[in-house]
């Protein structure tokens, strides 16, 4: 269902068209702590969720919040969600927002989304799904919609697959002007149910027709929240771990400096920088998952398929601010070392610390960029020497600014 419509203002110009879907409420599945039923239609051990509709809503909020920074104007957002009671208590605006994430509504929204995307090759599309997922064969991905588990339908009738979705968005004779920059994010498990290996592989419903593609010159990465055969994870009543990591990257952890080769004249997040940052951000989420009792073998991981050439996802309002530790090695030099942090772009000192640097390590917050750190000794001190070192402070990996003075 269309929840944001700026098409009149965008007119014939390229725009960004988003389809966001979150399914937590699966009425045919048991909820916690109910046991899964061994009789009735197969549900592959799944239960209702309490995090994925909220994740979809957070993605919607992010897109709205950065609409002035997107590479093309935000034109449309279509939003479908089947939230749980837990989520509507946390986020009341989710209640009745958009439409329920049923098969019919998904198909209707996807067809309209594709029609809008087909208007301009310089356009951008964004697809986000959070909910239950399975694989039929390792490597593919099926998205389960609200009606999944219905006793009156084939096992994957209330489901669609990402290959059909992505191939159906390819340039073709019927849609030669379809947007060439397409971002897909699938925040779901990729387990292969054991039942699928015993029966003829069930077939999901085709989300739309797929004409044979023409020259496929899209940049169309799919970010999967799990590697094939693995699970994605979430905490009750919170956005999923992957969604949290994704938003952290989109809000600055995936930041890159202006880039002449990419045509980026400001700090920005690109499809490739997002992938590079996600590894680090998910690692932090993994530490949290482990602290909550998660099993080490179920490590959070992700996969990018069909990366294509790099493209700008969003610009940033400036260089992000990063946390960095300032360290003098060895600590015995601290009483004698005067420490200066210099912005290497301007050559101007931004911090000066008379000895001793305290506390040590010194935790600072600096704008991302290039810096030099100088440790000076006003008078000669046996065993120590003045030293200067350069550092590039660009997320996601911020190394400590460690200067060795021996």
């Amino acid at each position: 269902m269309l929840v944001y419509d700026n098409r009149a203002a965008v007119g014939q110009n390229p725009g960004l068209h988003a389809l966001i879907v979150g399914v937590s409420n699966y009425p045919r599945l048991p909820s916690f702590p109910e046991k899964t039923s061994l009789s009735g239609p197969p549900t592959y051990g799944m239960r209702q969720l309490t995090s994925t509709a909220l994740s979809a809503y957070r993605m919607y909020e992010w897109l709205l919040s950065c609409r002035e920074l997107l590479p093309v104007p935000l034109a449309t957002i279509r939003f479908l969600a089947s939230p749980s009671g837990v989520e509507t208590e946390i986020e009341a605006r989710l209640s009745g927002f958009g439409g329920a994430a049923t098969l019919e509504r998904f198909q209707e929204s996807a067809i309209q989304w594709r029609d809008d995307a087909a208007q301009h090759p310089e356009g951008v599309t964004c697809f986000y799904f959070a909910g239950h997922g399975v694989e039929r064969n390792k490597g593919d991905q099926v998205l389960l919609l609200e009606g999944f588990g219905s006793p009156n339908a084939a096992p994957l009738f209330h489901a669609v697959d990402t290959h059909t979705l992505r191939y159906g968005m390819a340039p073709s004779a019927r849609r030669p002007n379809i947007a060439r920059r397409q971002l897909y994010v699938v925040d779901a498990c990729r387990m292969l149910p054991a039942e699928f290996q015993k029966i003829q592989t069930p077939i999901p419903t085709a989300v739309f027709d797929v004409p044979l593609p023409g020259i496929d010159d899209r940049r169309a990465p799919i970010f999967y929240a799990a590697v094939p055969g693995a699970r994605a994870w979430a905490v009750n009543g919170e956005p999923t771990f992957f969604c949290t990591a994704l938003l952290e990257c989109l809000n600055g952890l995936g930041a890159r400096e202006p880039d002449e080769l990419l045509g980026a004249s400001q700090w920005h997040i690109s499809s490739h920088s997002l992938a590079s940052a996600l590894s680090d951000s998910l690692l932090r989420q993994e530490q949290r998952r482990l602290q909550m009792g998660g099993h080490p073998a179920d490590r959070l991981n992700f996969q990018v398929d069909g990366a294509g050439e790099d493209f700008i996802l969003t610009n940033l309002s400036g260089a992000p601010v990063v946390d960095v530790d300032l360290i003098i090695d060895p600590a015995g030099a601290l009483p004698h070392a005067r420490v200066t942090v210099i912005d290497d772009e301007t050559g101007q000192p931004v911090r000066t610390f008379e000895p001793p640097l305290s506390p040590h390590p010194y935790r600072d917050r600096l704008q991302a960029g290039m810096y030099r750190v100088r440790a000076d000794f006003a008078a000669p001190v046996a065993g120590y020497r003045s030293r200067e070192r350069a550092f590039r402070l660009v997320p996601p990996r911020i190394p400590p600014m460690k200067v060795r003075v021996v």
Binding site: L69, N137, V210, V227, G229, A230, P258, A307, M370, A390
Partner: protein, 429 residues
Amino acid sequence: MSKLHFDFQFRSGEMSNVDLPVEVRGLRETTTPAQEKQRGLTLIQRSSVSRSVDVDPGVYWVTARLPSGHELSARVAVQSGRDVTVVLKPDPEDVSSNEDRELSHFIGGVSLSTPWPELDAADPDAVWGDLQSLGGETLDMRLRAFQGNLIGRAYVEQDPASWSHTARREGDGVTFEVPGRDAVQWLQLVQRGHPPLNVMLPAYGQSDCQVAVLRRESEAEGVPITWTVEVYPQNRVAHALLRYRDRGDLEQAAAAATSPAMDGENLLAGKARDPIGAVIGAYSLLRFGHLDRLHDWTGNLMRRFPELPDGAAIQGEHFARLGKHAQALDAFLALKDRGLPLFTDGLAFALQRLDLYLQATTETEAVFSPELLRRAGALRHRFERWSPWVNFGGTTLSFTGFDPALPDAKPFTHELGLVAGMDLTLFLP
């Protein structure tokens, strides 16, 4: 204009000579969101260590991000008409303690990712509970070698002893060399309690590879030690490229894919051909959408190496991207006679395209004859024997099962002494 040259200074010549990507940043006019102009740091060039770049006088920051995640950086001032060589070397804190291991320290092995999910993913208490082993841990394993076409069931088990003369202990594992042949080769790692792991080897024709069999300590308490396999293509840049992709570092992977060392035409020309380097480069160019760089050498790759499955998968996907679907299907169908691809990219491309072509529409019926579609359906059906057991999370194709023609996830429960193959524990202390 002046030239910036680059020089890696590692302890080992082997690592210093790997042609990895470098980035050059300089001060340029940038735009704030309020459309104000200001000077700021801007990425202006991507290159590789072997390629110099032209720059105007000014101050530049040069960085190289290694597959391990280590970053080397240097700041350099360039004067008009004077060329500068930028030395990039690791910080003293990051230097590998062992020169011999520098390559694996800064590049690492190619991931096969969680090869034994069944045991690891299970509750460790269910496996060991409060039990303690009163004897030493078992390190037994066997390594079997195969070559041929799995899909066509035309394969044989080899004597892996031919590999053992190069075997040497390295850290907690054993490494050995596998020479390329004009046939697909794979190894099988067998250990009790785990599904045997089959790993396709990136060795073909004149391209050799290195295999490392390593001890893997589980992070979960009580889960016994297992063995895992890493493979290293002979072409170091190709190896680094796979590692960048494993780590999700797409910026560096995309840059490495366009390095001169990965130029497919060069890799396939002359006497010292490197088909595996060309295959890794071609998959990456397809993944990063650089179709213009593939020119027509994917055709050479397919024709010149008639037993190499990946040549067919690459040619098929290249045609498909160009909208030439009849030729694409023709190339994919050649996999029946060539076998399973060495890389998961190849199998993934084939599966996705066959699925697309088998969707019955008036368009597919107009492009493909009923006979072609029948053959496509038959090949798709054959792939289903392996695809559930393939680890699509890794770059090199691997799958589980003692009988490689009938894969499954059954743990091996028999006596290892009954299994032919190489016992690598003999190389351990």
